[in-house]
């Protein structure tokens, strides 16, 4: 009963809105303030309606204050008490010198609170700011409050902004579709509007259509639902693809250094993950220094960290090569063990120096936030990491193909003894290769510091994945690593919705184990004598 009367009043209100009689408005606004002071729930309700109907400039602050119990009335005065304790005249919004005596808060009950909610929704629809109007329309779209239909219609008639108008129309459609007594033609038109919108919310609205709808309506609904579902499935696949590419770029960054060292030297560097970790900690230190000394440079912190991380990780890599690995050539399995030992030492060293807890690395402005393309949500940091991975890949390719040292590296990869006989100092090439591979791992650390926890265990969590990428892609071929990283990343993310994250990963591991049986040297194996060693 109450709702019906409320509805009727709202319709009346909308009519009032549409007509907008200027003189009467001032008068009824006065009436609203009188009623607010009357200390009766029904008067308060009426007052809210009057304020909305007249689009009173102070309507929003008054109703908000009312909702929060900060609207005081008494002795013909209506006063808003602000959150910081000041007093404003409700009529004009002008500040009052002090609290006048005899003021008491305007009381609320559930009925009034309901009206306030509806009124706030309606107020937003009439807000002069188009962005606020869109937000209010979205709220109405979700709440599907029938009481707001007249307000919506009024707002649509007045609306000039195209986007706001579309949002308002969608909100109206959401209400109309579920309104049994609306004209059938309007309801079918509403379904079309929802289909145009085509997102998850529209789908939910369409699905909630009452069971007693007419056949024509039902047919329109089911067609719209399947159209939206098809569209959403495409977007979802797109989103998963995007996640997959993002994961693939991370894997590429983590694995590509490993691919170089493994390809040229035939040793698996178990400390590779720790080089990634060193890169991440270098980023952390750079940011700490910038924070304390040069706060203005914060946005450039990553740009500064990139060469430093490359140098730190690269130098540590060269030190490892000269200090340990040099003595273990021709014994790849022993190298694996020794580098594992080094990884333990590096981890513990970092843990001793920086503590075992996660360190916070901030995101510069250009990397924070997200934007949307259609239904795709794309975060800037992931996008930049993909770009960065691409740049690193291109740079490595250029080094290997265009520089003398790259030529020597390739020669050593293909046939170490022949290269040595041709006068290439293989020892020096090994050291530089190891430095390069480790340096690239350091670069990966800079990128990973943006999306993962910077802790001493950072490297550990990537090392097995990196191995899988290298083994899958084949050794000594950067393109193989690229394709392998992207394949594994995308496959992982495409499997996730069906199998779950853990099972998907297990499935991939099993796949790689089986794949190695088929092609023991990976997707793109080097051909020739060198691989027989």
């Amino acid at each position: 009963m109450r709702i019906v009367s409320c509805l009727l009043r709202m319709i009346a209100l909308a009519t009032l809105l549409a007509l907008q009689p200027g003189a009467a408005a001032a008068q009824s606004a006065d009436e609203a303030f009188t009623r607010l002071g009357a200390d009766s729930f029904s008067d308060t309700n009426r007052a809210i309606e009057l304020l909305i109907a007249n689009a009173h400039p102070q309507a929003a602050p008054i109703i908000e204050a009312l909702a929060a119990g900060r609207l005081l009335a008494g002795g013909g005065a209506v006063v808003i008490k602000t959150t910081d304790g000041k007093f404003l005249d409700a009529r004009t919004g002008a500040a009052l010198p002090a609290e006048s005596p005899g003021l008491a808060p305007v009381r609320l009950n559930n009925g009034v609170r309901r009206n306030i909610q509806a009124a706030l929704g309606g107020l937003g629809l009439l807000n002069p700011d188009a962005g606020k109007r869109i937000a209010a329309a979205e709220a109405v779209f979700k709440s599907r409050d029938v009481a707001l239909l007249p307000v919506l219609e009024g707002a649509i008639a007045k609306e000039t902004d195209a986007r706001a108008k579309a949002a308002l129309r969608q909100a109206q459609a959401a209400i109309l579709v579920a309104k049994p007594d609306a004209p059938p033609f309007d309801r079918i038109a509403a379904i079309d509007v929802l289909r145009e919108r085509g997102d998850q919310d529209a789908l939910a609205t369409l699905r909630s259509l009452p069971a007693d709808s007419s056949p024509a309506l039902k047919e329109a609904q089911s067609r719209a639902v399947s159209a939206i579902e098809g569209k959403l499935a495409v977007w979802r696949a797109g989103q998963n693809l995007w996640y997959g590419l993002s994961l693939g770029s991370v894997l590429l960054l983590a694995a590509i250094g490993l691919a170089i060292t493994f390809g040229v030297m035939g040793v698996i560097n178990m400390a590779h993950g720790e080089m990634v970790m060193l890169g991440a900690y270098t980023t952390f230190i750079v940011q700490e220094i910038i924070r304390t000394r040069f706060p203005g440079l914060f946005d450039y912190s990553l740009l500064i960290a990139v060469p430093l991380a490359f140098m730190v990780a690269g130098l540590v890599g060269i030190a490892i090569e000269r200090g340990v690995i040099r003595f273990l050539y021709g014994r790849p399995l022993e190298t694996l063990l020794a580098t594992w030992g080094i990884s333990l030492i590096l981890q513990q060293a970092v843990r001793t120096a920086f503590g075992p807890t996660n360190r916070e690395v901030g995101a510069p402005n250009f990397m924070s936030g997200a934007f949307e393309i259609g239904q795709l949500a794309i975060t800037w940091n992931r996008l930049w990491i993909i770009v960065f991975a691409g740049l690193v890949f291109a740079a490595l390719l250029a080094i290997l193909k265009l520089t003398p040292i790259g030529l020597q590296m390739r020669a050593v990869t293909q046939n170490r003894r022949m290269a040595s006989a041709m006068g290439i100092r293989t020892g020096r090439v090994d050291a530089l290769t190891f430095g390069l591979g480790s340096g690239v791992a350091g670069l990966a650390g800079v990128a990973l510091s943006q999306i993962d926890n910077v802790s001493p265990n950072l490297g550990q969590s990537y090392i097995i994945d990196s191995f899988m990428v290298v083994v899958f892609g084949g050794v000594g071929n950067l393109w193989g690593t690229l394709i392998s990283a992207m394949t594994l990343g995308v496959a992982n993310k495409l499997l996730e919705p069906y199998a779950g994250a853990v099972l998907g990963k297990i499935a991939l591991l099993v796949f790689i184990i089986l794949f190695i049986q088929k092609r023991p040297r990976g997707l793109f194996a080097l051909k020739g004598r060198a691989v027989e060693a």
């Binding site: 694996l336 063990l337 080094i342 513990q348 853990v502 297990i506 184990i513 190695i516």
Partner: protein
């Protein structure tokens, strides 16, 4: 005949090892049970359990030495076989709890009741029987090793690639066992054991018996491994380690020899895991962690690869050092020590404790050694 197989060509080192393990297996439980607490000769139960754990590791190390030291297969996934044996034993022990669990369900283990499962999954059937569980201790790791090895060795996956896929294997199992849906207790694993064969797991006598059993199994494992490596088959296996292609060209089916050794070794690791679980009182997925398997490799490397006795010695020495290190003020430096050990042993002691000791011994007996150039590996 069997004794000839087991004891043929047994050297002095082997006899010393057997005598030592047998003596420990008899004396330690006796000193624990018979000597009064506080006596100089009393062995506390906790110490006995700790050493029982070391001896399980020793058996695991021997099993790894069999494949790595003699066949050249560096398995970075032996912890998986160890853990599978442990889980088989753990499942038996869980079924023995019966209705004494927190939820008092006579059939379902506590964690299944907690997950609202209605009935026992099929793969838990039979584990209430001890003989069946013991069969599974051998079969589960053995079968996995057989299938895995069948594919891997037939397609000639060798060297670093094999190491990496064994690591992938144990990593996949780690992830799988972490899942609650697998029905192996998820993250928490299996624990709260009560009885084994009707005896209380916590009782001093049971622990003493388990300790003796561990020693018996260690001796058995050593004898089997040694029997294999000194037999004609063992010669072929060693030939595969040193020159795989040449052995193949000589007409031996390399993949079958490898598969046999790998499977036996996995079963042995499973037995070690099965003995480990009742003594430690818990089995959880962390046993599958790749790091554990790699650590096992270093025990073998420290003791001396390809010596069997050395592997056992290395397991005990490294784990004893770990206990000493991690329980005192040195705790933060354990990983430094372990890491340095990896590097030091691979560079300076490639033959491990046993190999280095033998070299020194021979140098003293023959003051002027004739330099014989080491033949380079054929491949």
């Amino acid at each position: 005949m069997i004794s000839r197989f087991l004891l043929q060509n047994m050297d002095k080192r082997g006899y010393v090892f057997l005598a030592l393990v047998a003596a420990i297996g008899i004396l330690v439980p006796l000193l624990n049970l018979l000597m009064p607490v506080g006596s100089l000769f009393h062995v506390p139960t906790s110490t006995m359990s700790l050493w029982g754990k070391y001896l399980c590791y020793a058996l695991l190390a021997i099993s790894l030495d069999l494949v790595w030291g003699y066949c050249g297969i560096l398995s970075l996934g032996h912890g998986a076989f160890f853990a599978l044996g442990g889980y088989a034993m753990g499942m038996y022990l869980m079924r023995q709890i019966g209705s004494r669990g927190t939820y008092g369900n006579p059939v379902l283990p506590d964690f299944m009741v907690f997950l609202n499962w209605q009935e026992l999954p099929w793969y838990w059937y039979g584990f209430s029987s001890f003989p069946f569980a013991m069969l599974m201790v051998l079969l589960a790791p053995g079968l996995l090793a057989f299938v895995f090895g069948w594919f891997a060795f037939r397609s000639r996956v060798t060297g670093v690639y094999l190491s990496i896929i064994t690591q992938a294997l144990t990593y996949a199992l780690l992830l799988a066992f972490f899942r609650n849906d697998m029905g192996f207790g998820g993250n928490n694993g299996l624990t709260d054991f009560k009885d084994i064969l009707g005896f209380n797991v916590q009782a001093q006598t049971t622990r003493a018996a388990l300790f003796s059993m561990t020693c018996v199994m260690l001796i058995a494992g050593f004898l089997i491994a040694r029997g294999i490596v000194v037999s004609k088959l063992g010669k072929v296996v060693i030939a595969i380690r040193d020159a795989e292609s040449r052995t193949r060209f000589l007409g031996y089916r390399v993949d079958r020899f490898k598969l046999f050794v790998f499977t036996v070794s996995a079963c042995m690791a499973g037995v070690a895991g099965a003995l480990y679980v009742p003594q430690v009182g818990i089995i959880n997925p962390s046993e599958f962690a790749p790091a554990n398997s790699i650590e096992t490799v270093i025990w073998v490397a420290v003791g001396g690869r390809g010596t069997l006795v050395g592997a056992a010695l290395g397991a005990v020495v490294v784990n004893y050092a770990k206990t000493v290190f991690t329980s005192g003020f040195m705790a933060p430096y354990w990983l430094f020590a372990l890491g340095a050990l990896f590097v030091f042993v691979t560079i300076f002691m490639p033959k491990g404790i046993i190999g280095t000791a033998r070299e020194l011994w021979e140098k003293r007996r023959k003051p002027a050694p004739t330099v014989t150039p080491e033949p380079a590996p054929a491949e």
